[in-house]
Symmetry: C2
Subunit: 495 residues, 2 copies
């Protein structure tokens, strides 16, 4: 590897500067600085305090975009005042679509599982942009609020491709797609389908799928059965923190947010303001994130050396005050780091050492900087036909009274009323007297029997909506279409 690497560096708030100093000290001793420059940038509390609601200076944004890599310590999001989480902003701004976290039982870090003799070595790949994390929410009636859960085919493809490529690169033998496709049949069904499609190019990796609730039970009973889990955003958020708990908490688990242009490596634990500046913070999570970053950049030799030295240090009982055998003395951040530096070149004895490769890998090629937002697409040339529409009404009427009104409205249109549902349960034409309704109904109109699908476009639906709006508040609307002949909408429970 000839060319030097540049990394934007944001130390973070609270204990951030201390643990970042420690990590850089270790990097230096391991020869990382022979290959890479770290360029400090301004992010976090100080930037928020200047009234910048993103918490990062323009220079920080530009530098990160030039480097393509950001290494960051923990940061605070100010409560109130419109400041937004830097993590969330960064993922969205830079399209860091995959969150990658590894979880490994560390020697000297006692957990419920280590006490039971269970050794954990797994990773989680989480989709980082879609799902309910788009934050698209609407109050639709006095009593009803909606959040849109969005899952796209190209969004799924990006994360699945990253997962399988990572499994191949790291020698991970099996990957499981985690989902709730038995309930969210279309959205999580798509996530699962695209996992299977992407997996066809990786036949050497054993592939399976598991429902998220069953997975969480399995994880607490027998976590060692999993190697890589691939999940949608919310489920991935929950499961990755669960997995952190299995190995001792967020202080012992690294995290990366991976994009095609910019990737972010960070400690996900808090800023621990209570112990900030006292020189006693535990830098393990940031060191592990740094190791992950070095591997990502092709610096596989120092990554392996640092990891072995860290493992050798932990197994010798060296510890900071937050973990380990409390009967033994604990070290400050600096001494803890020096203990790792002293062990560079050593390998651990009680756990498997990481193999040190003969040379660093090739520097990964960076995609050219886009000049404008790209539209990414998976399914093209699909034939769609309009089949009707779902209209959502804000009304306190009973289902029967509403059905009468709606049948009148659609009388002289190509549509008939086929369904009224409330909170997903059909309440007309059939329903149970026990179903309790709220002031937000879905009314479904579909083509009359004698009207073939594809007879016309959406204009008749908009005209119908116009008619309905004369007497009712329409809070929401969806066009019903077939895609290559398959209905693009679910049936109601009971329909």
């Amino acid at each position: 590897m000839s060319s030097r690497l540049s990394i934007a560096l944001a130390a973070g708030d609270g204990i951030g500067p201390e643990i970042m100093d420690a990590t850089l000290e270790l990097f230096k001793a391991a020869g990382v600085m022979n290959h890479a420059d770290f360029i400090p940038v301004e992010m976090g509390a100080a930037v928020f305090a200047k009234g910048n609601s993103r918490g990062m200076s323009d220079h920080a944004i530009r530098t990160t975009e030039e480097c393509g890599i950001l290494f960051k310590g923990p940061m605070e999001t100010p409560k109130g005042g419109g400041g937004k989480s830097i993590n969330v902003t960064a993922r969205k701004l830079w399209n860091a679509y995959a969150n990658f976290r590894t979880f490994k039982t560390l020697p000297g870090v006692e957990t419920v599982y280590s006490k039971a003799g269970i050794f954990i070595d797994m990773c989680v790949v989480r989709e980082n942009i879609e799902d309910t994390y788009g934050g698209v929410e609407h109050r639709l009636s006095n009593d009803m609020i909606q959040c849109k859960r969005l899952i796209s085919a190209p969004g799924c493809d990006a994360v699945h491709r990253f997962a399988f490529q990572t499994a191949r690169r790291l020698g991970i033998k099996k990957a499981a797609c985690v989902h709730k496709a038995n309930i969210m049949k279309m959205t999580d069904g798509l996530f699962l389908d695209r996992f299977k499609a992407a997996g066809r190019d990786f036949p050497e990796i054993e592939q399976s799928d598991v429902i998220v609730d069953a997975l969480c039970m399995n994880l607490v009973v027998k976590p060692q059965q999993y190697q890589m889990l691939v999940l949608p955003n919310l489920q991935g958020d929950i499961v990755s923190d669960l997995c952190a708990g299995l190995v001792g908490g967020l202080g012992f688990a690294p995290s990366a947010n991976i994009g095609n242009h910019i990737s972010i490596f960070e400690a996900v634990h808090g800023t621990a303001p209570d112990i900030a500046g006292r020189g006693i913070a535990n830098p393990t999570s940031l060191i592990l994130s740094g190791i992950m970053m070095l591997r990502h950049m092709g610096l596989t030799v120092p990554a392996a050396n640092i990891e072995n030295a860290l493992l050798a240090t932990l197994e010798s009982g060296v510890r900071t005050g937050d973990f380990g055998d409390k009967t033994k003395p604990s070290l400050g951040t600096r001494d803890f780091t020096n203990a790792i530096v002293e062990r560079l070149g050593n390998t651990p004895k009680t756990v498997a050492a990481v193999e040190v490769p003969a040379a660093n890998s090739k520097l990964p090629e960076r995609a050219p900087t886009p000049t404008g937002q790209q539209v990414i697409r998976t399914f093209k040339n699909v034939v769609t036909h309009v089949g009707g529409c779902d209209i959502y009404l804000d009304t306190p009427l009973s289902p029967l009274a509403l059905a009468e009104e709606m049948q009148r409205v659609c009388q002289d249109t190509p549509f008939k009323l086929t369904l009224i549902s409330n909170r997903g349960t059909q309440v007309w034409p059939t329903g149970s007297v026990y179903t309790e309704c709220v002031d937000y109904y879905r009314v479904r109109f579909e083509l009359k029997e004698n009207v073939p699908p594809g007879s016309f476009g959406q204009s008749r639906c908009v005209a119908l909506m116009d008619k309905v709006s004369e007497a009712f508040t329409i809070c929401s609307y969806e066009l019903l279409r077939t895609f290559d002949g398959v209905k693009g909408y679910s049936l109601a429970q009971g329909q």
Copy 2:
């Protein structure tokens, strides 16, 4: 208690009949039949096989509705063929809005946590109807599928009220609301707000809230810190299975689905077809669900006696083949049950015995059967004003090209284009070149500065939509309103 109780009884599939026989045997020995009649009903595989897609006969539905209580064994949902899960149908059909599950470390049931000396005694109350479980899904473009996440104020109120009343009834001292309101600010924000509102009537119960991912980490690290967790549907689904894992799996955790009219008590584990009919199945989960049912019906004396006998049996090392000390012999279902019957009147020695009350409690009063669907309401007399609309387009255009078109469309209307977002991230008027877009955009129109809110109703929005639809496919639409002056819609990331 003078009047007799009636309970609809569905033994279930696979091992269902064996474990149900065992449970009824135990009930009989404990004197339950002096107070209650069990009326067998047809549900499950045999009913599905007759082509009934609900898996329950009309008689079963009628009987359950008359009794108000259904006690059921595990049931299969046939794969394919349109058969629907009986559990889901029952919750929706009978509005069983709260799922209640308890998790308690049992003597003789070894788990990772029992080995670490951690004793678990907690419960989960899960909202059972709303969230993404309404199954309202639409394919909105070639590449984008949406699932509606719906959270209503009366839906929240019902589950929170049940949770607090249950805590009071069972002497539970603290309850935590679990949520993801830092991301789903409006929907989970509502869930959390209504928890706090309901909690005001229960000042003796310590109340707190915790974000779901942090909770899951805490649960694997230190589960004994929680007593009652109250969650929205999906998060509750995940967390309750996680908790089952903490105490040894679904075979050791009871479950109830509670409604105002009909409540369902069931074993949530599978039908175990591989061992069905061999007389070796473990009836513990169904017995525990039965104990929960007896308490719910006011039969607190036999409930306590059976629970004490079960605990005394388990602590003595009596076991079925699926758990316990494998060096000791295991019993079949019948002998395991007889061992419990023999211990009726005994109390456990190694764990706390359940207090046996002097007399059964009063039979709970049942609400009168509704004659039609009720509309339940929380917020009334709210003043709403139209502020614009979000229109969602299926288009492969770039954000800039789309913005030009949309500005032209709204030129002679009271609206201006304020925002275009893609997957929740703002891409116009500002945005990052790194944001990757899919073929599904949100376009936000809001009132021009000189138009005061409340100047007109929704008709101008529908007219605008009509104009947009001349050149674009509108896959979705939402009315933007203020409710008592507060915006009923979220801003985009970056807005």
